[in-house]
Every structure is written in C-alpha cells, then in structure tokens.
C-alpha cells in the first residue's frame, strides 16, 4: 500500500484538523520545519480543546483541589480520595456529548466504557456509576430516538461490564435540541498503597499495548468533539467509536491481576486520541521520550496507515510501561483473558516522541511540548447580565393541587423508572440506595458498616440566568444530596458543558460558573479532584444551557444510621429545616414558573453558603444521632414536590399547614436553597421534640413544624387533598407515555 507521509500541508488541511492558522505557525516554530501528515494529526489530537483544555485551563487552576482526604487531584485519569482503613475511592465524570448525538447507542456506551477505564487504570475496581443525561425538548423530533438510544447504550455497556448504576439525572430542554449531554460518572475502590499512575519511569523499558485491537473507528473523534455541529452531522458518524463491554470486562480483570503482580510501572488508558495521547502523557509526565513501532500494534483492519493508528479511538485499550523481568508473567495473564499483549515500543532519554512504521520514521516530535506547550488562551469574556428580580406581586396563580399534579406528572419531576430499570442497579450486591432517592449509596465491600454516597447535580436554568449563582448551586445541591443520606461529602468531580468559548458571552458563563463552583467548594470543603470540560456544544450557532455538572462522593460511616426519603411511619411531625420565616419565597427560575407559565425571567435562588453548611451539618448530625426517620432535601419544585416525593417513596400521605396571610404559591413552589424536610419519631407535645427545635434555634436555624405524616392523601394547606395514588399515577405516567408516543 502507499501512504504519503510528506504531503504538502495546505491551510485547508490545517483547518480540517481543527487547528487555527496561528496554532499551525506555532507548530512550525516549535519543531523548526513543516510537520509530516502524521505529525499534523498528532498535533491536532493533542492540541484540540478536548485534550488540551486550552480555553479553560486558566480558570480551572482557580478551583480548590486539595483537602485532608485528597490523595490525587486533577491531572490523572481520575481523582483519588482517602476513605480510611487503607482504602480510597477513585472517581471522575466525563462527557461523551458529541458522539452520543451522532450515534446515541455507541456514543453513550463508549462514554460509560471510557470513564470505567479511567477508574480501573488507576487500580480501582469500579463499584458505582451514574449518568447525567440532558436531552432536547420532549416534542423535538429527535428526542425520543436519542433517549431510547442513549439509555440503551448506557445500560448495554454498564450492565454487561457489571457495575451498578446508582444515580444520575435525566432532563429535557429545547436548548439541548441539537446537542444532548451525556455525562458519565464512575467510582472505584482501591487500596491507598496500590494506586497506579500514568507517569513513566526508567529508560529503555518496554511500552506494552494491552486489550483490544486497533481499528479505524473514532479516527479524529477528539477533534470532532472540539467543534460545533452544522447540518453535515450525519457525515460525522465514522468518528464515533464502537464499544465492546465484553472486552472491557476482561480488560478490567486482566489489569487488576496484572497490577497485583507488581509488573506495572505506569499505565494509561487509551481514550480520546488513543495511542497518541496515552504515549505522550506517560512520557511527558515522566520526563522521558517514547519510541513506538507501529508494525507491532495489533490491528483489526488491513492496510491501516500510521496516521490512522495514531488517531484511532478504538476502545478497550491500554498502554503500560512494564518491569521487563515480569513480562512472561504479565503476558500469561493477558493470554488467559484472550487479550492482546504487544510490546510496541520503549522509553528513551531524549524527550522525543518518535513513531516508526515500515522502517520509516513517520513522526519525531518534542514530547513535552506536545502536551505542556499546547496553546493556552485567555479568551475574552463579558460579564453576564444580572437578571432583574421579579416584582413582589408578580406571582401567577394556580390551584396548588393542580399545579403539583401537573409538575409531578411533567417531564421535569416525573419518575425516571423507565430509564433506571434498564440499568442494573444492584449488581455487586452492595447497593443500599438505588435511583429515586437523594443519592445512590453503596456499601464498602468487606467493611461492616461503611458506605459511599454518590450524587450528580446541576440546575442549568439557574446557570443560564446567573452562571455564578448557578455554579454555586450545583455544588451546594450535590453536597446537600449527599448530606441528606447522612454522608460526609468528601470531594467532587466537575463536568463543564458549555457552548463555543470563542464567543465572549459563553466564555463569560464559563468563567462565572467556575468562580461560583470554586467559592462553593471552598466554603463547603468539598474539593474538585477530577473533571472534564466539554465546549463547543452548539449547533448552527446556538449554544446549550451552561451545564456544569457536579458529581460528588460522600462517606457514610455507619449505614445502619443512613437516611432515606420515604416517610417512615404515620403521625410523625415534619420539620422544614433551614427554612426562611415564610418557609419559601423564591419563585423566579422555579419549575413552577417555567413549566406552568413559560416564564424564564428573573434571577435564580441565591445560595447562602454559610447557611448551607450550617444547616447541612445540623441535619447530618440529626441523622447520625438517630433522631430522624426520613430526610429529603428541597430542590426543583420546592416544598410541594419534596413532600410529594417523600409520600411517593413510602405510600404514606401527609397533612401540611397553611401559613396565615401568605400566598401559598411561593410557600409551596419557591425554590429557596439550603432546606431539608425531616420527619421525627417524636410527640410534638413532648420534651424531646422541643429539645430538637431548641437545638436548631440555638445555632440560628429555623426548623418549623409544618405538619405531620399519615393517611393516604397529601394535603397542602387549604388545597384539595391529593390521594397518593393519584400522585403516583401522574408521577409514573409521564415517561412511559412519552416514550410510547401517547403524549406530546
């Protein structure tokens, strides 16, 4: 076959590689000559937004990333956090947005595969997964097809691999019509003294290729993911990879067996930009050069060019630097699992990334500069406009019971059962709380009473209205959801999904959201230990809602003292802990306004981080002290939705008082932050009850007794009683009917 490596590099070819003319000039200056075709491909892979974070790096550096529990912050395959007893939780969230829109099943499946690999590359066995999914408007012609494909893809991969999916989000908004979001989270468990990193050490050591063979799938995927979409989207399907969970499962077992032998010096999974990115990262981090011989790379297609091999994003592959004396032992493990094991190169001391093919040198580049010297931009940004608050008397009226039924049976609040029943939520036998509560909780295997809690959160409409407050809220809600189970929030991963950063107003959203996230993470002592940035989520010039998804992990020291959301028994007082004097006030950006009145104006509810922390710490202590029987934080849909969800989770109703002289709409549907509903097994006339209220009052927390559990109806003040069965019908009805096409 013929492959012409030394073709003329035209401006068009440079543009086709997603590189700007000035970036190309920088390449020429860096290497002192024109790059070869393969080299151009390598630069395009390393310098695209997805791999280089060139637009966001400046701002990501401002995030708090350390803390007493943090073993490894951002910069590795995943973050690592100490959970005591010599164990660590290893986790990260990553987007697979662009591929999932082009080919939903494979896009979502390989998103799950990629994040699982990030976790087990570090020596951790995956124990939990979550998926934050955002689709276009329900009525958009592509939405059902995308929901169906993405959910099947997430399930198809995760179920076969064998990790429980314990949480996530599914939301709809027309702003995702042309760019859906698939943010996959995975967490694993490892021993703190057996964490594996990507930094290579030692000269002349074998670089070993592991796993599946290389094909042409995904060539140029990372570059595609760093561009906007136009109408030519169908032409991009070949850039989407194809997942093979069976191979991934074998790769997991083989890698963990291999790691146990002590053979691994450094290991890196092949994700975006495959062989290129993994080899460069291992070498650059270890201040070593890498020489690869592509004739040794296991391929599954004939006549692959070096360009294709370097840019392939074939899945289920790893690259490793091996202790040479362990090679026989290592090879035997991979043969047992019927996986490829090939020495494809070695480390060098010249800091060059050298690629040979058919005896010819097809690339020879400075390895540090490929990564470290990637362009970094301080892109211009503008201050987002601050929304004008709603007038005090601007409260559109609706019957409280009707409003609740419509919201709980609408696309935002309805049950996600249709989705999560397609995921294996209980494999591994450790799932203590499955989807449908505030957070997923998984028992730490081998430990008598420890568990880990996981939650994924962001409210994009808040971020759109005020990126700074929205960024704070995403962190606060995640922290609150973990707290509501009784967990100590440990650390978080951020998945920042935005539009085109070359537009100053989008860059302004990114900058402000990061500032908000940073502030919340500092105050709540909830560091960011890993993350991912997905920009250019735009189609034909229209961006998505700014969506900085936060995936958080918390530690439950004793799961016998864990809280759940369902009302536990009849006749238990309900307290609204952390409430303002009138229980609820803030209607702007609520789903009451958006979904019932089409109103998207006004600021989101502000987050008072000091209040958040104080209230959360108080609620967590109540749970730990065994003083509460159910806990649920308030978010979308406010008090009414929170009560409904607690009733739905148990089948027990509740009767809640009406505040005198107050409009019930903001009371029941306001989305004020930092509030929890708790039930207590106490007589409201008794001493213990008053003691509890005093405990709250003493530290300045208002925790009004708003009503009691009981009966089969939910009664919100003076509104007509709603049978829990009627709530359930609405709540369970929307998703299956939507997918069956029986509602618009």
């Amino acid at each position: 076959m013929t492959f012409e490596n030394n073709i003329a590099i035209t401006p068009q070819l440079v543009a086709d590689h997603g590189l700007k003319p000035e970036e190309y000039d920088k390449i020429v200056a860096l290497i002192g000559r024109e790059p070869t075709y393969t080299e151009l491909g390598i630069f395009s892979a390393m310098w695209n937004e997805h791999c280089s974070y060139k637009s966001s790096k400046k701002w990501l550096r401002t995030l708090p990333t350390s803390g007493s529990h943090v073993i490894q912050g951002p910069g590795e395959n995943a973050g690592v956090v100490d959970i005591g007893d010599g164990q660590a939780v290893v986790f990260k969230m990553e987007s697979h947005n662009h591929p999932s829109y082009i080919e939903p099943y494979q896009g979502a499946a390989t998103g799950v595969g990629g994040i699982l690999r990030d976790v087990f590359t570090m020596g951790a066995r995956p124990i939990a997964a979550m998926n934050a999914l955002r689709f276009g408007a329900p009525e958009h012609e592509k939405t059902k097809h995308l929901v169906s494909g993405v959910v099947a893809g997430v399930g198809g991969y995760g179920n076969s691999f064998g990790v429980p999916t314990v949480g996530g989000e599914v939301e709809f908004d027309e702003r995702y019509n042309g760019n859906i979001l698939v943010n996959a989270f995975a967490a694993g468990l490892a021993d703190t003294d057996k964490i594996f990193y990507s930094r290579a050490e030692g000269v002349g050591l074998p670089v070993v290729y592991l796993g599946a063979k290389t094909g042409r799938d995904g060539v140029g995927g990372a570059t595609m993911a760093s561009a906007e979409f136009g109408d030519d989207i169908e032409e991009k399907r070949p850039t989407v990879q194809v997942g093979d969970p069976f191979t991934e499962k074998r790769l997991l077992e083989a890698c963990l067996e291999l790691m146990a032998t002590g053979a691994v010096i450094a290991i890196q999974d092949m994700g975006a930009a495959g062989l290129t990115c993994s080899a460069v990262e291992m070498g650059a981090k270890g201040d070593l050069g890498v020489e690869l011989d592509l004739d040794k790379v296991p391929v599954r297609e004939e006549a692959m060019t070096p360009y294709e091999m370097m840019l392939s994003e074939s899945q289920e592959r790893m690259l490793m630097v091996l202790h040479p004396e362990k090679e026989t032992e290592a090879r035997a493990i991979f043969e047992k699992w019927a996986l490829d094991f090939a020495t494809v190169g070695h480390t060098t001391d010249d800091l060059r990334f050298c690629v040979r093919w058919h005896g010819e040198e097809v690339a020879n580049l400075p390895i540090k500069e490929l990564g470290d010297e990637a362009p970094e931009y301080d892109r211009p940004w503008v201050e987002p406009a601050r929304p004008v608050p709603l007038a005090v008397d601007d409260i559109p009226q609706m019957d409280v019971a009707d409003a609740l039924l419509e919201l709980i049976g609408g696309h935002q609040l309805s049950s996600r059962r249709w989705v999560y029943e397609q995921y294996d939520t209980l494999i591994q036998g450790n799932s203590l709380q499955r989807p449908g509560g505030d957070a997923g909780v998984v028992r730490v295997e081998g430990h008598t009473n420890k568990a880990l809690a996981f939650s994924s959160d962001v409210t994009p409409r808040y971020c759109e209205a005020d990126p700074f407050e929205g960024g704070k809220q995403a962190v606060a809600e995640c922290w609150r959801n973990l707290t509501a189970t009784g967990a100590d929030p440990l650390a978080a991963t951020d998945n920042l999904n935005f539009g085109n950063p070359e537009r100053p107003e989008i860059m302004g959203q990114l900058v402000h959201a990061i500032k908000g996230i940073g502030e919340a993470c500092s105050v709540l002592e909830f560091p960011i230990v890993s993350g991912n940035v997905s920009l250019y989520n735009e189609t034909n010039g229209r961006g998505i809602l700014p969506t900085p998804t936060i995936g958080g992990v918390g530690l439950v020291p004793d799961w016998s003292r864990m809280a759940t959301i369902g009302f536990a028994a009849e006749n238990q007082p309900i307290l609204l802990v952390g409430a303002p004097p009138s229980w609820g006030t803030h209607l702007a950006q609520s789903i009451y306004m958006r979904d019932l009145f089409g109103r998207k104006d006004g600021p989101p509810p502000p987050v008072d981080l000091a209040h958040e922390k104080k209230v959360g710490d108080f609620v967590r202590k109540l749970i730990r002290d065994g003083r509460v029987t159910a806990v649920h934080d308030l978010s979308d849909g406010g008090l009414a939705a929170g009560l409904a969800e607690m009733a739905l989770a148990s089948g027990i109703g509740a009767r809640v008082n009406q505040l005198e002289d107050r409009d019930p709409i903001p009371v029941f549907f306001g989305e004020d932050q930092g509030r929890y509903l708790v039930t207590v097994p106490l007589d409201p006339q008794g001493e213990a009850f008053h003691e509890l209220l005093n405990d709250a009052a003493e530290i300045g927390i208002f925790a009004p007794w708003i009503g009691s559990t009981g009966g089969t109806e939910l009664v919100l003040g003076n509104a007509r009683p709603i049978p829990v069965a009627e709530l359930r019908e609405a709540h369970e009805g929307w998703f299956p009917q939507f997918m069956a096409g029986t509602i618009d």
Binding site: S160, F246, K249, G429
Partner: protein, 222 residues
Amino acid sequence: MKSAVVVFPGLNRDRDMIAALTKISGTPPAVVWHQETEIPDVDLIVIPGGFSYGDYLRAGAIAARSPIMDAIRDKAAKGVKVLGVCNGFQILTEAGLLPGVLMRNASLKFVCREVKLTVANNGTPFTRGYNDGQVIRCPVAHHDGNYFADAETLARIEGNGQVAFRYAEGTNPNGSINDIAGVFNEQKNVLGLMPHPENLIEAAHGGSDGRALFSGLLEQAA
C-alpha cells in the same frame, strides 16, 4: 456444603454468588475456570450470571460449548446439584441440560427490578427451604429472560413438576410462557432461574427471601 462456582469470561455476578455462598455456608466456594476440564468433589455447582462472551451470538451459546461443560454434564448425570442463575440458566439451556430457551424480553429492553415469585414445587433440594405456593420477593436483571418451550415440552415439564418458580402477582417482567421463572431438569438436580436470589440474602439487600434457596441446600448437605 461444598460448592464450586464456574467462571466464564464476561460473567459478572460471580463475585455476588461467591459472597452469597460464603456468607450462607460459611465456606468460600471453589472457583473453576471455564477452560478447566475437571470439577472438584462438591455438593453444588453454580454457574452465576453475567454476559459470558458478551452474549454475542446468543446468550449462553458460546459458554455452553466450553471445555468445562462436559465435566458439568458428567457431574449432573451423577446427581450433583447444578444451579444456573440468569446467564447460568441461559448456558444450561444452551447446553441441553435444561429444557426450553430464553428469548429476548418481550419489552426488548433490559429490565432490573424486584418481582414476586411463587414457589411452584418445594419438593426438591433447591426449594425445600420454602413452602409450596409461598410468594417471595426477588430481583431480576436481564435482557434475555423470556422463557419459551414448545407445547409438548411445556406440557411435559408442567406435568413432571419441573417448574420451580413462577412470576407472581402480575410481575412477569419478560413475557415468559406460563410465567416461568425457573425450571428443573427431569431429575430435579439441575435448576436454572432468571431472578437473582444471591442479591437478596441480607439486611443490606433490603430482604433475605433469596437465602432459603441456599440454606435449603446447606441443610441437605449437612
């Protein structure tokens, strides 16, 4: 009770099964790799759930042709008890050790939820821990659990008391004929079932209805 768990590449509930057997019997099972040709002397052989060979071709089809299957067939013929759960059930039907087939779920979707099961025949070592007609809770998690057998086979297994469990109270999650969730071979020493009793054995699972299946076997062996 001495037990062995057979592992094929792609199975993923092997760890769940090993944990359940260890917790209930107090002894960890022997773990047998699919390329081996012998099985140690045990009272119970278990093929757990998962996606052997990725369920490529047909669920269980490739695993059913593995070297270890001859050993399992021999042991079964000698009366050793064999339990196949989920993918294990699919493998046993593909291997001809159990009647019928497991087709794609009627919904065409993977389904993970809790169902109710009726104990259809408690006169076997596997089901003696339950009462006849007892309704128990049990989770399912599968894509291909839609049990089917032709009319003649169905009449035969129904007549022989070879139906072990049926989905109860309208909870059939996959379209299985006659609500069949689990079947025995003719001798009742081989059982295949789609639900996962190993995932409902302790407080952390929210119930322990699955436990009696294992503890019944344990009493038998003791």
